[in-house]
C-alpha cells in the first residue's frame, strides 16, 4: 500500500556550503516534523560517507543525493549507484550526462531552474538545453522558504506545466535549499512522497518519484483520487479518458504546528487538465469534495488556493499529475 510521507528534498551541510553538521541537519529536520530528508550537498557525497560510518548520527531517514552544482544549472541527483562527473557538462550536451546518470539508476530533478544567475549566483539559473525531457524525473517547482512569495517559483511552475503539456511525465517537488537554520522558524513547504508501505529508503523514494507519486504543499495534506468505472486512480497513475468522478480530501491537522502560524488558509480547489482549469470549487472549499468531470487525454492535477503569508489568492498546494490516455 502507498503511504504519503513528508520530506524536505534539498539540504546542505558543512560538507559543502551549509552550516549544519549532518547531525544538526537531521535533528532540525525532525523538529520540522519531516518524515525524511534528501541530503544534497554541492558536488560531494562525503556527508553520506560520514553518515554511513556514523549510524547514530541520524534518526530521520536520509535519502542519498547530491546537487550537481555546474556552471550552467543545478540539478538534484538521488540514489545514483555510482558517481557521474558533474564538471564537464556543457549546455548542449546535458542529455549525454542525464543518460549516464539514468544508467546507474539515478533520479534526476532540476533545482530552482529560474533562480537569478550570473553574476549574483553563477550557474544557479537553468541554462542547459534538455533535448529529451524523458531524462528528467522531477522539477523543484518550489524553491526556498516561503515559496509562495518568490517570482522564480511562478516561472518554474509555468515551465513544469508547459513540459507536461508536451506529453512528458514529470513529478513536482519543493526544496528549501536549506543551508542553515534561521533564528525564527521559517515557513517551509513539504514534498509529500508516496512510498510503498510507508517505508523510507533511498530506493523507495526514488521509485516513488519515478512513478510520479508526489505532491507539494505550503501546509495541508492532500488526498486526490479519480474513479472511472470500477477502478480508482491516484497521483502518478495512468487512467482512461472520459467521464469520471474526482475526490479531494484536505487534512489540515498534519504538521499543523509547523505551518499553522503562517496564515495559510484553503479557500478553493481547482482541477487543472492539460494546462486549463476544468473545475473550480463553488465556495469555501470543504475538507472533502467529490464531483464528476470529463477528462481528455493528457494529464490532470489538483491545486489548492487560498491565503499564505499575508497574500491572498495564492496557490498553496498542488499534486503531480494523474495521466490520462
Amino acid at each position: 500500500m502507498i503511504q504519503y510521507k513528508a520530506f524536505e528534498m534539498h539540504t546542505h551541510t558543512l560538507h559543502s556550503d551549509g552550516k549544519f553538521t549532518p547531525e544538526e541537519l537531521c535533528r532540525t529536520a525532525e523538529q520540522y516534523q519531516f518524515d525524511g530528508i534528501a541530503l544534497t550537498d554541492h558536488n560531494t557525497l562525503s556527508a553520506h560517507a560520514y553518515l554511513s560510518s556514523h549510524p547514530d548520527a541520524s534518526r530521520i531517514p536520509v535519502v542519498e543525493g547530491i546537487e550537481w552544482t555546474t556552471f550552467f544549472g543545478h540539478m538534484l541527483v538521488l540514489g545514483a549507484e555510482s558517481y557521474v562527473d558533474w564538471r564537464y557538462a556543457k549546455p548542449a550536451d546535458i542529455d549525454f550526462y542525464l543518460e549516464k546518470i539514468r544508467n546507474v539508476n539515478g533520479v534526476i530533478g532540476l533545482a530552482h531552474p529560474f533562480e537569478i544567475g550570473s553574476p549574483m549566483c553563477t550557474g544557479c539559473h537553468w541554462d542547459f538545453q534538455v533535448r529529451d525531457w524523458n531524462n528528467i524525473n522531477y522539477i523543484e517547482v518550489w524553491s526556498k522558504s516561503a515559496p509562495t512569495t518568490h517570482f522564480d517559483n511562478a516561472l518554474s511552475f509555468r515551465m513544469w506545466t508547459q513540459i507536461l503539456n508536451q506529453g512528458y511525465r514529470i513529478a513536482a517537488t519543493a526544496g528549501r535549499d536549506w543551508h542553515w537554520e534561521t533564528e525564527t522558524r521559517a515557513h517551509a513547504a513539504a514534498t509529500y512522497i508516496g512510498v510503498e508501505n510507508g517505508e523510507i529508503t533511498t530506493r523507495s523514494v526514488c521509485d516513488a518519484i519515478r512513478a510520479g507519486r508526489t505532491y507539494v504543499t505550503a501546509g495541508p495534506a492532500i488526498d486526490f483520487k479519480i474513479s472511472a468505472g470500477q477502478r480508482t486512480f491516484a497521483i502518478g497513475d495512468t487512467m482512461p479518458s472520459g467521464i469520471c468522478s474526482c475526490r479531494i480530501e484536505i487534512d489540515e491537522t498534519k504538521r499543523k504546528a509547523i505551518w499553522g502560524d503562517f496564515g495559510i488558509d484553503v479557500s478553493g480547489i481547482r482541477i487543472v487538465s492539460n494546462g486549463n482549469v476544468i473545475y473550480s470549487s463553488p465556495e469555501e472549499a470543504k475538507m472533502e469534495s467529490s464531483f464528476n468531470l470529463e477528462l481528455k487525454p493528457g494529464w490532470v492535477r489538483a491545486e489548492l488556493y487560498g491565503n499564505a503569508l499575508g497574500e491572498t489568492g495564492k496557490r498553496i498546494g498542488f499534486t503531480s499529475p494523474i495521466y490520462v490516455e
Partner: protein, 160 residues
C-alpha cells in the same frame, strides 16, 4: 614533510565557467596530503563594475512583470568571485569543497578527509586538483595552491 606543489595562477573573467586542472605525480606513498588554497580578491571592489553587472543580471533573469520588487543593485552587492577545489586520484573523484571562504586548507589520508572529500590513501600516482572556476567578476584574481606530503611520523593538524 615535503612540498609537492606550489603554484600561482592568474584567473580572469574569461576563465569563468571552466575547470582548470593542475596535475602532479606523487613518486611515493605519503601518510597524508595537505592542500592549501588561497585566492584574492574575494569581493569585487570596483563598485561601478558591480552595479553594471548586477543590472545586466536583473534585466536578464527577472521578467519585467516582477521587477517592482527589485529595489536596487546594492541589494546584491558585494559581488564575489568563486573558485572551488575538486580532487581526483588517477580517475577517481574524491570530492569537492564547495565553499565560499577564499582561504581553505584540506587534508586527505586513508583514515580522514576534510569535509567535502572522502578519505583516500595519499598514494603514489597521478593526482589532479581541478579548480572549478564558477565566477571571476573582478578583472583578475590570483589563485595559490600549495600541496604538502606528510610522512607517517609527522602529523598535520587534525582539525583541518
Amino acid at each position: 614533510m615535503k612540498r609537492i606543489l606550489d603554484q600561482t595562477l592568474i584567473l580572469k573573467p574569461e576563465n569563468s565557467k571552466t575547470n582548470v586542472p593542475i596535475s602532479f605525480i606523487l613518486d611515493k606513498d605519503y601518510s597524508s596530503l595537505l592542500f592549501q588554497c588561497r585566492y584574492f580578491p574575494k569581493k569585487v571592489e570596483d563598485l561601478e563594475l558591480a552595479e553594471r553587472e548586477i543590472i545586466k543580471g536583473i534585466e536578464k533573469y527577472v521578467p519585467q512583470e516582477y521587477r517592482a520588487a527589485y529595489t536596487g543593485w546594492r541589494d546584491y552587492a558585494p559581488l564575489v568571485n568563486l573558485v572551488t577545489l575538486s580532487l581526483d586520484y588517477e580517475n577517481e573523484y574524491l570530492g569537492c569543497a564547495h565553499r565560499h571562504a577564499p582561504e581553505q586548507d584540506h587534508m586527505i589520508s586513508a583514515s580522514h578527509a576534510s569535509p567535502g572529500f572522502i578519505p583516500h590513501k595519499a598514494a603514489a600516482g597521478r593526482w589532479k586538483a581541478v579548480l572549478n572556476v564558477h565566477a571571476i567578476i573582478s578583472d583578475r584574481i590570483t589563485y595559490e595552491l600549495k600541496v604538502t606530503g606528510f610522512e607517517n611520523s609527522e602529523r598535520p593538524d587534525d582539525s583541518i
